[in-house]
Amino acid sequence: MEIAIQGSQGSTGNSEGEVLVCSKPFEFGDADPKTGIINIPGHELEGQTVKDKIVIFPCGCGATTEEWSLYVLKKFGTAPKAVVTMSSYPCACIGGIIAGIPMVSGFDENLLRLVQNGDRASIDAEKRIVRITKSCNRSLIPRESRDGERYARGED
């Protein structure tokens, strides 16, 4: 099943990949630049990586150094493929622009209700369109598969 959602703000570029969702305001400064993994205990995305993901969350947050977070991730090769937010936090958005990461923002409907980890998304930043492909048997394998990934990376 594919859902297409129209945003009102966006940068340039196209991208396609696996979705990583955070339900709360998120900062890329929480990801370790060397791995892209979020190592903050108790963080909703603890143990997950932003590398090569389409990261979807309500809005950015944090100190203005957040601008550099995406840029530094890009330099380390651990940046997300694209960033999709309900509304855009200027200093984080600017970081995405200087890092050349496609971003789409400004949605009327609650995007976060439509998408979950493991879905795939393709984005066309210039047209401000996000297309989400639901992973079909998602409900059968949510938590375990993520834990499996962590084992595969040699964690825990």
Binding site: S8, Q9, P25, C59, A63, T64, E67, S88, C91, C93
Partner: protein, 420 residues
């Protein structure tokens, strides 16, 4: 996006490659947000770039041969190297730190940046209601919006420089009247006794509120109408630790909130919250990440102390001595320290064993960078910003006790955390 003839020439390269590059960046940001035009800005505020090579290279790329066209102030550097011995920096580390810091300071001098090196630079160029500016750094930018009613988005370091070079910023976000209205009403309950709030209470309120906002601007009611600028500056950075809301209104205090109706722009609040004793306790607790009650460092002045804060700290230290195992850092900017020195305030703090440091981030950045080397593990502070960031970025390495100013001073004297 509609550009004026002059802006088109900037973009076309008539004003040189730096102006061209800057205008191109501002245009991309404007196009992202669907801005219709550029606005002229009257001031800019920069952040002193984290001193690593990746970011210094980016800074150089954006400023090589540049001329700034508006008065431009700048945030703190990493360390107060004129007081390196007071900070406890090893002499062997000094040349390297000086080299890193001076290459940035030299660039600022060449560019004509006003070397305020502070997160409270408003003594230099005062702002007026409705003035369009381009400020980065959450303390400075939020304070400028909330306290003066000046208009700035939370700029990046790159767009703040681009604005200083071109005198322009795209018209979007907080530059537009309709985007500045409050949406979440926060009632500060009388039971918290707002009239006797410490700086820490303001920080706790801001931190707690930030978690409710996502991207919506808060309107506070119930705070003392006698509150000072020095107190309001503790309500800035903590708000964006968990939100993207980059201004706030206090009814009866801030200029865009002469009444609740004005603060809400005539609309109904989209959400309401009450900040009582229980909520305050929760905020204080969630900002305390330390277990050990032995304090290595007491850190005050995040954001940088005003003159009255320095006087209050000196008053609390009168006749006391800072414990030999504990350091007391008090951060401010050089002009304020000079005034306080003339008033005899600095001598009182220094004679008691405290260090009044200038031009550096008061705690967060130096602790994260050099804290372990200086033997610092447990920090006490009245700053919700510092405590919040240490509990996140410094988790596992540093612990923070967050409490009121007098509890922090007591910890510097006793070496133990006994705050509540």
């Amino acid at each position: 996006m509609h550009l004026t003839e002059k802006e088109k020439r900037m973009l076309g390269g008539d004003y040189g490659p730096i102006v061209q590059k800057s205008m191109d960046l501002l245009l991309k940001v404007g196009e992202f947000y669907g801005a219709e035009r550029m606005l002229k800005v009257t001031q800019a505020h920069l952040i002193a770039w984290e001193i690593n090579d990746i970011l210094f290279d980016l800074f150089s790329e954006l400023t090589k041969g540049a001329t700034l066209v508006v008065p431009t102030t700048v945030n703190p550097l990493l360390f107060d190297l004129q007081r390196w011995q007071e900070l406890g920096i090893a002499e062997s580390d000094l040349p390297n730190l000086e080299r890193m810091q001076s290459r940035l300071a030299n660039e600022h001098r060449r560019l004509g940046v006003i070397p305020t090196y502070t997160c409270h630079p408003h003594f230099q160029h005062e702002l007026r209601l409705g003035e369009h500016i381009a400020f980065t750094e959450s303390n400075v930018q939020i304070f400028a919006n909330a306290w003066f009613g000046a208009r700035s988005n939370i700029e990046g370091a790159t767009t703040a420089i681009a604005a200083a070079v071109t005198g322009r910023t795209p018209e979007y976000g907080l530059h537009i009247e309709g985007n500045r209205r409050g949406e979440i009403l926060v009632e500060v309950d009388k039971e918290t006794q707002p009239e006797s709030f410490d700086y820490a209470d303001y920080g706790a309120l801001s931190f707690w509120t930030g978690r409710l906002l996502t991207d919506r601007i808060p309107v506070y009611i119930g705070l003392s109408d006698e509150m000072t600028a020095g107190q309001a500056k503790y309500m800035c950075a903590p708000q964006v630790l968990h939100s993207s809301a980059a201004t706030f209104h206090i009814v009866g205090v801030t200029p865009e909130a002469r009444s609740l109706e004005e603060a809400l722009g005539g609309a109904k609040a989209k959400g309401r919250a009450r900040f009582g004793k229980k909520e305050r306790r929760e905020a204080f607790e969630s900002l305390c990440s330390a277990k050990d009650r032995n304090i290595d460092l007491v850190c005050l002045g995040c954001p940088h102390c005003t003159l009255d804060e320095l006087a209050a700290i000196a008053g609390l230290l009168k006749g006391k001595k800072v414990n030999g195992q504990t350091r007391l850092w008090v951060g401010t900017n050089e002009p304020t320290r000079n005034l306080a020195k003339r008033m005899g305030i600095i001598d009182l703090i220094v004679d008691a064993g405290g260090h009044v440091l200038t031009g550096m981030c008061s705690g967060t950045a130096p602790i994260l960078r050099l804290g372990r080397k200086l033997g610092i593990r447990t920090v006490a502070s009245n700053s919700a910003c510092l405590a919040g960031i240490l509990s996140r970025s410094g988790r596992g390495k540093f612990g923070a006790w967050f409490g009121r100013t007098r509890d922090c001073i007591a910890a510097s004297i006793n070496g133990k955390w006994e705050g509540r």
